[in-house]
Amino acid sequence: MILYVLRRLIAGLVLAVLVTMITFLLLSTSFDDIAGSTLGSSATPARIEEQKAQLGLDRPVLVQYLDWLFHAVRGDFGLSYFTSEPVRSAIAARLGVTLSVVLAALLLTAVVGVTLGVLAATRGGVVDRIAQGASLFGHLVPNLLIAIGLVWLLALRLHWFPATGYTPLGEDPTRWAASIAIPVLALTAAGAASLTSQVRGAMIDELRKDYVRTLRTRGIRPRSILLRHALRNAAGPALTVLSLEFVQMFGGALVIEQVFALPGFGSYAFNASLQGDVPIIMGITLFAVLLVVCVNLLVDLANGWLNPKARIR
């Protein structure tokens, strides 16, 4: 078990090295522009060369990458080209914002998706049609429009939540919750849509299986059959959807953070990329990959717990 986790973590580290290397190689094609943009539009070619040398961008690409990697292993991700802020603390400060939005949305997605999916699969009729309609709506309307629609309705019309801005959790928990409410709802809408249809389909399949009938002949109550047996068996595929959902939400948070002016990971990455701030881009890439690796590992471990056949011996 511990060996398995170790093996997965090592595979994850290899993946992180590969992804950051590819990103770096791709970025290296535009180092001239990047050096230029740190100086402003009036920079002369000679000045740009000088700046490249100063930033270390004139060395062979592989040397540069290995240099970055060795520093990164020791926890040093360098300084931002523009603000000279240490990348590590800058990312750590912003990751909290993004994670609180994404994790809250993931939790809400799981609750809404499983509830609607189970209801749709077992009640049929009107409940099923409403759940399917809601799920279809989440698929039909682009995430961006849902986000803007929610701002218009909940912030501008009803004044329930602020339209933009962020209050840190430590400062005021209530205002923190209010400030992430609309972003969380916007991310949940799309996530819950796919989870609902997944859970619905999986539950319908499970409830048609033989063991459900045999449990009924034992006098076991329908509630226990649904929740203790069928849902547990249906949860495996749902968890996989949820882990893909996490990756997507992490990407979706980019747009959402921009819409709601949240000082998160996504908007930070966006601005850094617009400027070509290489240390920040590399740090962000690494953190994102490691985060995804960890989430996938957690999902696989949870899957093993749910499904004895997938358990590692």
């Binding site: 992804v19 990103t23 791709l26 970025l27 094609t29 522009d33 990047i34 749709a120 699969a121 077992t122 009640r123 049929g124 099923d128 279809l136 039909l140 682009p142 961006l144 429009l145 803007i148 218009w152 319908i204 399949d205 409830l207 048609r208 033989d210 063991y211 459900v212 009938r213 045999t214 449990l215 009924r216 002949t217 034992r218 006098g219 076991i220 329908p222 226990s224 059959i225 047996h229 547990r232 068996n233 990756v247 997507q248 990407g251 979706g252 980019l254 747009v255 921009q258 990455a269 966006f270 990329s273 070509g276 881009i281 962000i284 890439t285 990959v289 995804v292 690796v293 749910l306 004895p308």
Partner: protein, 604 residues
Amino acid sequence: MSTAPSNATPARDQGDRHDPAEAAASRRSPLRRLLRDPQAVISAGILLVIVALGLLTPLITDHGPNQASLDAINADAGSHGYLLGGDKSGRDIFARLLSSVNTSVVAALIGTGIALAIGVAFGLIGGYYDRRLRAVTEWVFSLVMTFPGLLLLIVLLPVTNGDYRVTMMIFGVLLSPGVYRLVRNLVLSVRSELYVDAARVSGLPDRRILSRHILYTVRGPVVIATAFLAGASIGVQSGLAFLGVGPSTVPSFGAMIADGFTNFYEEPLQFLWPSLTLGVITASLVLLGNSLRDVLEGGRPEPSRITAPAPRPTTGLTTGAGSSGLLTVEDLALAYPTSSGELKEVVSGVTLSLEAGETLGLVGESGSGKTQTAFAILGVLPAEAVVTRGSVRLDGRELLGLSERELCGVRGRAVTYVPQEPMSNLDPSSTVGSQLVEGIRTTTPMSRREAGERALALLSRVGISDPRRVFASYPHQISGGMAQRVLIAGAVASRPLLLIADEPTTALDVTVQAEILDLLRDLRKELNMALLLVTHDFGVVADSCDRVAVMQQGEIVETGDVLDLFSAPRHPYTRTLLDSLLDENSARTDQPGVADESWQKEAR
């Protein structure tokens, strides 16, 4: 049958949900069926009109999408020759809207095209050729899949310079693993089909087989995926444009929405038009994709409640009188709705009776309605089944018409069930022990610990010599014979009055069959239960039953004492069944071996 309406529910008979006639109809002409589906026609029509408008932009508007005039800033609709008015920079909203359509179409073409090209090519190769190559492609694609796509697109902004065409190429690569998995799974399943084997044996080159046979099967799901891929591409392109990625001269819904958003209070319409168009386009793509899926792959499964079958209120139940037996089934009939909406009877007027402690064999060939009769007695018919008439009384109590809740008090206590296929009848993700304990605690007031001990005692009673190990095992860790013993243990846990065993030995090895039958016989005597033994095997009947009822096409054709029926069968069908028994040179080996010693043979 072939003209069945598209909204008809498929007939379900004994779990078989595929009506051959309907399947043939669906194979006939997907395109024609698609044209009859209003959702498909409307969504495809809307898309065609929008794309056509985009292509005809130069003919429709006089103004370019970036042509701004100062006096047209926030102009009203219709003024300055601007059909929908001007935006905050004085550009023609209508012209920008149409040009944005073109941007979206190009984005969708690039994203979808690249995803399909890479995904299909590698899916075909990975699915068709050997494993080593597949391992490599698999690894690369799972690597691509782990990365948050939108983040990568943003991170690579310095490389793409925000050009949406380059961005869409990368996005296509990011979408390709989904297509790859889809195609690879399809190819793997087709590869082993006989006609592909035949083509390979007859010497067709791989290239021909791939393009002829395999691409043909793959095309339906790929068409469906295309609709969703296009929707995703358009969504991402707009999202990025909304963020302000790329030159402002490229007209895009995202950029228009962003402009409109900042100008929302003054001119809400500027925000509405691009949002509406974008929403209509993506909604049409999703709806079209759903229609394609329904037509090409058959309808989505319908939910079914866990519920007791409700007898039709119009047909009054016969109130049985006189008989004093343990189980009395009178004139029981049940039916399933067919695709044309009519009811098809699968059991028509079955009458049975069983005394306490008696063993009755219910015999007939498969499809004769034996199992359906058994399920009707237990009240566990599929939700779509309809009990059209009749009565089922157990110990004097009418069971038909009871609610699921009331039946829960009867099932497991008075009547229990042993299924045909042991493996699929245990919950795969709970241990044997926890399933037994749950059953015991539902039927008898016991603490968890007492129930656990009772379960262990039951396991050793049914001939499992290592009860503790089996108690802690999951179903996939024990053999089929052991699983059947576990199910029998669960069924007799509550000392029921009646045990219904549905072909309890059919799925087992020949050597185990006799032991299971002996076990059932011993337990019946020990607990003085009645046993309803559903079987197609007269050998089993001769061994275990007191009386026998012969079923054919949903009706009981003959009932009688086992000895009488064997010596003088009256119905021709009974005679045919008996004759076939003598012909087939029965494989059953009758070794009454003691169960306790035999476990080692089946233990894996």
